[in-house]
Amino acid sequence: MRKVWAVVRREFVERVRTRAMWISAVLGPVFFAAMIFLPLLLAGGGHKTIVVVDATTTAFGERVARGLQGANFTVARVASRPGVLDSLTVEVSDGRLDGFLLISDSLLEAGAAEYRASNVSSFTTIERLERGLQQIAVRARLEREGVDPAVVGRAQLRMDLSTKKIARGRTVEESAGQSFSLAYFMGIILYIAITLYGVNVMNSVLEEKTTRIVEVLISSLRPAQLMAGKLLGVGAVSLLQFVIWGVSAGLMLGHRASIAARLGMPGEVSVFEVPDVTLATGVVFLVYFLGGFFLYSAMFAAVGAISSSEQEARQAQVPVTLLLLVSFMGMFSMLNDPDSTFAVTLSIVPFTSPIAMPVRWAAGSLPLSEVVLSVATLVVGIIVVTAVAARIYRVGILMTGKRPALREVIRWVGRA
């Protein structure tokens, strides 16, 4: 056991010391921050100071200015005259003004107006402007037709459809967007992480093989001990990486408002709906990540063992990566219909369940029996695959020269 520990420690320490480890440790949170804050930045929103440039021939312009004035906008009205646009443009570019709205009689007649601002990609602001203008215009038109303003006021209603997810027998506050983005996000992370750390294991096997140090190791440890130490060591590195990512993401989400405020962004406006990641979801993610990691790393270890150069390994790993890709590609159809036969099958077959099950878990509700069945098949799958991979590994690491044919590899597996 102490010998296995030595291998685990070496894999862990040497990997944690590499630059790649720390680059990805930093890039993860950067990526995450971009996911959280970029939409905020783009969304803009918040309170805007605008000017209404009134070219109407009626009192409607004044009515618009009054109507928009409120919690979202501070509005001033100027009459349209030559030169005013130029001076307002200067105001906007100097940042003293967020934007200006050009209205004419055609607003009432054809619903046309123009908004010029430094930031027109802020769809929250645009939506508010549109909705405000529409309300004012509709009301004015109805009144012109002789409808009582009080009736108009009562008749207007703002629709707000709120969605709630029924998950595991309880109704939770989670919109469809949140479920989707969580499932999608988890699927991508799982796919990348399992491939990344699997290839890590493969390269580690290959390094020992090409440097021939494996002979010394095999005279001291059993091949199974060496392989187990490798899987555990790289697995521990991946867990550390997830802890770093998880903690930094948690901190960022927790202090989102204050960070946003410090960056001068409107923190309370959340266009990107941050999914509510429960403890159970976290556990499911980790369980399936580790399951998938062990399953695929064992296969990657076998691939490394039968290859004698990196080029060979790159070719030999294709079947393994394709296998993982199946569940990744299946994710999109699963998100559409998490309860289809296709989705259920993928989440129970051990080679696809490490990605399929967490995706289905996040996307919809799951009967407990399916989760139990899926975990059980995954465990059986890991045991069988690791045993087979260990046999290939045992023979492969001491072999040099040409890569063995598939038939030969199968013969190794059959050998006791």
Partner: protein, 321 residues
Amino acid sequence: MHGSVVAMDRVTKRFTGHTAVDALSLEVPAGMIYGLLGPNGAGKTTAIRMIMNILIPDEGSVSLFGTAGTGRDYSARIGFLPEERGLYPKMRVLDVLVFLAEAKGVDRRIARARGQEWLERLGLGDWSLRRVADLSKGMQQKVQFISTVLHDPDLVVLDEPFSGLDPVNTQVMKDTVLDLRRRGKTILFSTHIMEHAEKLCDQLCIIARGRKLVDGTPAAVTLAHGGRHVTVAFEAPPPEAASQVFADRTLVVGVQDYGRYAELELAEGSDPQEILRRLVAGGARLSRFDIAGPSLHKVFVDLVGPDAARAEAVGGRVADA
């Protein structure tokens, strides 16, 4: 320690298409330097891999330290330098040494202290924190040698220890091997360079094409395979006893006597030491007594000559297997 440290009993190993080791039996006595000699492709490396439990024999058995345990069971007592050298290029020198010692069950702190000690001893003290890849090939070889002896093994197995070493490092390696024997360790090494074997080995075994051709002490081997000449020179005209010795057909079958100088052809199975003893006892004062046997090199070439040429062709494959 008594008995043999390594005993191979009719060990056979076949690979697809050929037999690498064929019913090989040998015994390595404790506390000795034992040389496994043979041309390229003779099966030396395969034999060593079976001793180290890296390969499993198809037939026969290997026993270590007089028990049935395998190389891996005794990894703490065995140091192994494989034919193809290699270390983790990105690791630091001392870390590699500590890891390899740990894999053999040595405590981490002890391994660290001993590793530093050995590095100092072989002149690599300043390199312990550098990466292996930064070291020259010769330095890496030294580091790897340290890794074979760091855990103070009783048996040291060295596969071609001198290959790729410059004369200075060859001498360092020889001195270290001799020092190991002085401390009671057993050393088994393979080589195809007879000069090393002749000077270092207490016992040796010559194999070719997987079979044992001869084994024994270097003197016995050269004696048994044509070491039949002795050159004698006298300080003064030889006494009567000398001619009696030369006339003894159990010792000498042919003489070319030049008076103060003679060349003797020895009888089958006779011991030149007996001639020397009787000459001295007879009152002769010798200025030279030279068992002008063929060198081990000649014996080797005579024995494996035809085989060597054939084995050369498949040498690469055997080394790979």
